[in-house]
Every structure is written in structure tokens, then in C-alpha cells.
């Protein structure tokens, strides 16, 4: 390994160690799982002690929380918002709806699996996930960032054709 690589790797390692302590989540709540976010942020569970704070525009945010079922109408907005965010960016899928459609599995208007359309870093299972589960999801995302495994945004650039084709199939 050359000197340049060693320095670069060390730099990225330190950076990711710092980066995991400052994650801003986008204040864009798509569905019912969003109701678990106020208790997560406020006094009792206090997400800010991990450096996680809600921010209102896609330009400033790092995490996109997809909180529950995804309409075809909503998917268009989610993709736009995700593409507006600046990399490195991470996606967290909430509840069973983002995994397999949940109780809307046979609806014509609801998308079944989120990771066909966007690269998901962490899924939080359950319906609804409790604030404890949400915090646990944040913790596992932080761990993945620390290990350098939260590479969804790189995957979105590399496999862009795959994701775009899937999006085109649904959105037309």
C-alpha cells in the first residue's frame, strides 16, 4: 500500500468517526410511522444527544426517513428529495410497509418494497416501531457508518440504471 493510500484511508476513517456523531434527519414524514418521531426527539428519548436533529430542507439533511407505506404518488416525491440531498446520505426504512407492503400488500396504489427504488441502509422492523426501536435503528446506522458499510449512496450512483428502471416501471 502506498503512502497516499494510507493517508487517504486514515483520513476517511477519522472523518467517518466524526460523521456518525452528526446526522441531520429530513423533516419529511411520508406516512403513519412519523408519529413515533416526536417522542424520539423530545424530552424522554432525546435523539439530540446523538447529534440527531430534525432539519427542514433536503439540501441540509443526511438521513431520509421513509416512515411507512409508500404511495406511487409519494414515491415520485421521495425520489426527488433523495436526489436533492448531498452525499453522503442515508435511508432508513420504517416498519413492515417498506419491507413488503405491510397491510397494504394487495393495494394497487402502494409500492411493496422500498429497496427496489432507493438503496436502504437500515430497516427498522415492526409496526409501529417504538421510539426505543427507532433509537436502536439510529445506533445501528451509526455503527454501520463507523465500519464504512453504509454505502447506499455509492450504490445509487453505481447501479443507477437498475434503480431508474425500477422507478420507471412504477412511475411510468
Amino acid at each position: 500500500m502506498e503512502m497516499q493510500d494510507v493517508i487517504e484511508e486514515g483520513y476517511v476513517g477519522i472523518l467517518e468517526d466524526l460523521r456518525k456523531r452528526s446526522l441531520w434527519m429530513l423533516h419529511y414524514c411520508t406516512a403513519c410511522g412519523a408519529i413515533e418521531l416526536p417522542p424520539t426527539i423530545t424530552s424522554r428519548f432525546d435523539a439530540e444527544r446523538f447529534g440527531i436533529a430534525p432539519f427542514v430542507t433536503s439540501r441540509q439533511s443526511d438521513i431520509l426517513l421513509v416512515t411507512g407505506y409508500i404511495n406511487i404518488k409519494t414515491l415520485r416525491r421521495i425520489v426527488t428529495v433523495y436526489e436533492q440531498m448531498l452525499p453522503p446520505k442515508y435511508v432508513i426504512g420504517f416498519g413492515s410497509c417498506t419491507i413488503n407492503g405491510g397491510i397494504y400488500w394487495d393495494s394497487y396504489a402502494v409500492v411493496k418494497r422500498l429497496d427496489l427504488y432507493l438503496p436502504v441502509d437500515v430497516y427498522i422492523a415492526g409496526c409501529m416501531p417504538t421510539p426505543m426501536a427507532v433509537i436502536e435503528g439510529f445506533r445501528s446506522l451509526m455503527k454501520l457508518i463507523d465500519e464504512g458499510k453504509a454505502n447506499g449512496w455509492k450504490k445509487y450512483i453505481e447501479d443507477n440504471a437498475y434503480y431508474k428502471e425500477n422507478q420507471r416501471k412504477v412511475l411510468g
Binding site: 444527544r49 439540501r59 441540509q60
Partner: protein, 295 residues
């Protein structure tokens, strides 16, 4: 030689003190909410993260230059503030020049954010410039009262004139109150945070800024906090004999501001300007009248 080194290092000191004050404020707000709160160095982590973003989205040349103008204006303003024992850049007419230079940052922001074309940014800028009309009036009257009383515009002389507990806070309380409310408005705390109102205009001028631009704006914000509190300490709290007491007094100003900030809701913009042109202006004019009569 020592003066020159201090002059070069002052913006760095201002940045770190500003970061400390911002972090302290976040921690204190969390404690008032009965939360544990982020660590004290959280703003520093945020800035490092923002500066390390992979891409930067630009909307034009002026959009890139906006944060640079704001940060440059902040660095220049810091150089005009006297530190205990050191007068930095001191041409004639310190205080007057200071009041002019402080505006450049807002104008740079206005030019930069205006080019993004986002309606929220335009509304935010309109609010920022209108609010500036509000808090500048009492502040300039208060500043002129001090100039009338001490017969000097040099910030260093104003600071030295208040040594041995001859603070303007005790001897000119009405002027000090007016100056405090004006400083409070300039810091953009509740109830005067109409500019950066996330629920209404999605952080106003910053709505299209992200990544490295936003990192630069956060550095600018930290230095702005330093400037506002240091100016209040210099004018009304008697300066300090060494730098630690200076920072301690700044911390006191931030604590009082945060105690008010945490419990208040938000004014509408017309109410904010009406408030500034009523109470602080009346106090400032009364203070001016008293100094004029007392000679």
C-alpha cells in the same frame, strides 16, 4: 510584533469562542427542556461534517460568493473589536465604522440567497432586512448616547472608561436595556427569529444552501455570536482585564439571552419591527435625554 500576531490570531479565537458559546447554548436549551443534550463540541462536529460533504450544488457565481462575503465581513468586524489590553485595528471613528461593517454580512447573504431563486429564501431575506431596520434604530441611538457621554468613538477608550465597576449597565441602565434588546434582536433569538423560521420559511435564506456553503455559514454564525456578545460586553459590561473574564462575561450574556429565548414564541415580522420602534427606542431616547441633561 505581538500586536500583529494577536491581530492574525483574533479571528481564530473568535471562531472557537463562538463555537463554545453556540454549543453551550444548545446544551443549556436541552437542560431547560429536561433533556441530556448534545455534547459541548457538537457544532464543531456539524461543521466538520458539512465541510466534508462530497458534492456541492451551486446556483450561480453570486450564490457561491454570498457565504464568502458574509464570512469576510465577520472576520473584518472581529478585527475592529478590542480585546482586553490590545487595541486591534483602530482608525478614527471606531464605533461608527463598526456599525456600518456589521451590515455587510447580511447584504452578502441577501445577494447570495437571492440568486437561488427559492421563494422561501426571498421571503427570508425580506424579513432579515426589515428586521435590521427594526433593531438598528435603538442600537444606533444607544451607541450615540455613549459617544455623547464619553466624547469618544474609540471602542478601546469606551472599554477603559468603564474600569473599576463603572459599568454603563449601572450608570446608564435605560441605554443598556435598549442596547440589550437590540443585540438580542440582532442575534435572531425568539421572539425575533422570523428570519430563520423553520416552520414557516424553511430556514429562510439558508434554504438552498447545503454542504460546504452551509459549513461556511455556520462558521460565520459562530463568529457572529462572538461579535454581538463581545460588543455588548465592551459597551455596557465594562470590558475585562483579561481574556478569561471577557469570555465569562460573554457567557453571562448568552445565558440571560437563552433563558428568555427558550420560553417565548415567535413574533410576526410587522410586530417585531413595531416592538423595536416602540419600547427599546423609547428607552434609548430617555437614556439619551438623561445624558444630555446631565452633561
Amino acid at each position: 510584533m505581538v500586536e500583529k500576531i494577536v491581530l492574525v490570531l483574533t479571528p481564530v479565537l473568535a471562531f472557537f469562542v463562538g463555537i463554545f458559546l453556540v454549543g453551550f447554548k444548545r446544551k443549556m436549551v436541552a437542560r431547560i427542556h429536561r433533556r441530556y443534550g448534545p455534547p459541548l463540541h457538537q457544532p464543531l462536529l456539524d461543521i466538520i461534517k458539512l465541510l466534508a460533504k462530497k458534492e456541492n450544488i451551486s446556483h450561480g457565481v453570486m450564490f457561491d460568493l454570498g457565504p464568502v462575503i458574509a464570512l469576510g465581513a465577520s472576520i473584518l468586524t472581529v478585527l475592529f473589536l478590542p480585546l482586553p489590553g490590545f487595541k486591534l485595528l483602530t482608525p478614527y471613528g471606531d464605533l461608527i465604522a463598526f456599525l456600518y461593517i456589521m451590515v455587510i454580512g447580511s447584504l452578502g447573504m441577501a445577494l447570495g440567497a437571492g440568486e437561488s431563486g427559492n421563494p422561501n429564501a426571498s421571503i427570508g431575506i425580506a424579513r432579515a432586512l426589515t428586521l435590521m431596520l427594526g433593531y438598528d434604530l435603538p442600537f444606533i441611538i444607544a451607541g450615540n448616547t455613549l459617544i455623547l457621554k464619553y466624547g469618544t468613538t474609540s471602542l478601546f477608550n469606551l472599554m477603559n472608561a468603564q474600569s473599576n465597576l463603572h459599568w454603563n449597565l449601572f450608570f446608564l441602565p435605560l441605554t443598556a436595556v435598549a442596547g440589550f434588546i437590540a443585540t438580542y434582536g440582532a442575534m435572531g433569538e425568539h421572539p425575533f427569529d422570523v428570519v430563520v423560521a423553520p416552520q414557516e420559511v424553511a430556514t429562510g435564506p439558508m434554504v438552498e444552501y447545503g454542504g460546504k456553503h452551509l459549513g461556511m455559514l455556520m462558521i460565520d454564525h459562530a463568529m457572529h455570536v462572538y461579535i454581538e456578545t463581545a460588543l455588548f460586553v465592551t459597551l455596557f459590561l465594562g470590558g475585562a482585564s483579561n481574556i478569561w473574564i471577557f469570555i465569562l462575561k460573554q457567557l453571562g450574556v448568552v445565558i440571560v439571552m437563552t433563558l428568555v429565548d427558550t420560553v417565548l414564541p415567535r413574533f410576526r415580522i410587522e410586530n417585531a419591527v413595531r416592538y423595536f420602534w416602540r419600547w427599546p427606542t423609547i428607552f434609548a431616547l430617555l437614556g439619551l435625554f438623561i445624558v444630555y441633561l446631565g452633561g
